[in-house]
Symmetry: C2
Subunit: 270 residues, 2 copies
């Protein structure tokens, strides 16, 4: 769901970016399972005084991305509402039994991420601080590219054991994998690929980067890039030591600390 003043603001986000982000969020969930997107469905509710131009640009952004990933808009609903509300459902497929789940990470696996982390939350911080930012297509906050190709490649080559997309933040999404796989995790802070303009905290806890976080067996031969997207090893999966799953970080001096799931909570700022 993309809801005005919750997930975007009309004064910050061009309509084209809102349409793009809305579909990208759904495609990213398909990517995270190694899936092929098949079709998308849009429910759009808008205030009666919304300029037609806004809707046109929103649809332009959405359909451009839909076209890029061959995911035809195949149905939906429209309604009136007080705040712009867009809900996207993306239908995808994988061969039976081949979906990459969150629950299959095993002790000894490496923890890897695609791309760089923190650009999206860093941009949002600047927007909150009052800065005017032009929505360039290269900025992952405004125009995130879902990692469909990487997800598909990892699934086809059976190189990942578990996968998730980083929508809530690395610390939160890694905790999901560890909890559902009943394992512990350690993240090497100095290994985390931090996007330009971001910092370690945003890379760890910032959301909406829509990169992939996956685990791969120690023996798996991972390329440095998949479809042009850098792959970085940032930690490893360990056997669970206590009843509760723990994820820890380790810094350059070798100090271990708990890495608490602290997603960058956009709701709380509203």
């Amino acid at each position: 769901m993309c809801i005005e003043d919750i997930h975007f603001r009309r004064e910050w986000h061009p309509a084209r970016s809102v349409g793009h982000r809305c579909l990208a969020r759904g495609l990213s969930d398909i990517a995270a399972m190694g899936g092929e997107p098949l079709a998308c469905f849009l429910s759009l509710a808008i205030p009666s005084d919304l300029p037609q131009r806004w809707v046109k640009d929103f649809m332009g952004g959405l359909l451009h991305l839909a076209n890029l990933f061959r995911t035809p808009l195949s149905g939906g609903d429209t309604s009136a509402a007080e705040k712009i509300t867009a809900d996207i459902v993306v239908l995808g497929q994988v061969p039976a039994g081949a979906a990459l789940l969150r629950s299959k990470a095993r002790p000894g696996d490496r923890i890897c991420v695609t791309g760089e982390l923190g650009e999206s939350p860093a941009t949002l911080e600047r927007l909150y601080s009052g800065e005017k930012i032009s929505a360039t297509t290269s900025n992952r906050h405004f125009y995130p590219t879902p990692r469909i190709e990487v997800g598909r490649w990892l699934r086809k080559n059976k190189l990942a054991t578990a996968m998730i997309d980083i929508s809530d933040g690395l610390s939160v999404d890694l905790a999901h994998i560890c909890q559902e796989s009943r394992v512990d995790g350690v993240v090497h802070l100095e290994a985390i690929p931090i996007a330009k303009g971001a910092d370690l905290s945003l890379a760890l806890h910032g959301g909406e980067d829509y990169e992939l976080l996956f685990t791969a067996p120690k023996s798996a031969k991972l390329p440095k890039r998949i479809g042009g997207v850098p792959i970085t090893e940032i930690g490893e999966i360990l056997a669970k030591r206590t009843k509760q799953t723990t994820v820890r970080s380790i810094d350059s001096a070798g100090r271990l600390k708990p890495l608490r799931p602290a997603g960058w909570e956009h709701f709380s700022r509203n």
Copy 2:
């Protein structure tokens, strides 16, 4: 989509009814194509101060209906919002080429409806007038039963040429069939099955009854009831006389009048 103060009001509609109506609306679209529902997906956005009890009852109503029609809730999303916003997508299937469309009505076909019309808008009128109404399960406004069985039966027995569900009102939805089939239509006003408490105007223009409106060849042997639901012939399809499709009504005195699509517009009252 079901949006608070647009499609329902918290003081009028118990949460259980809102959950039921939300899914019923989606199932009714599947029924209208003669489809088998397979799965549903729910996106639910709620205000932070909404009592947990409301969500529990909403889900209770939705899941009860989902269970009845073997349509497992298979995914979705949650979010914060100012107004309760629920979006349902229902996935259904039909054998390839067998879907009942709006575009296949032919001159000479009979026009038929299931059940009785007007109960839902009549109830809404009473709610608008300030009346307190208890949400009984037999009231189609609060607990509409989607006509999945009738739709499936008509599709299997190849007895319908075109079909739609009456969500916007008979006059509007019949106009959709006539326009998409490029035919004219005549409705016999005295044949329309009017629900208790409703009147002809509500039966013609009231929405959200979720009965089926279909066309059947003159030669088709239609039963009086399908799965216990009465089937009533209310008119016939004619060849188009002018460039524009026209739907007319004929009263007991034989007077013909244009039947203008005048859906009962709930938005306009807000």
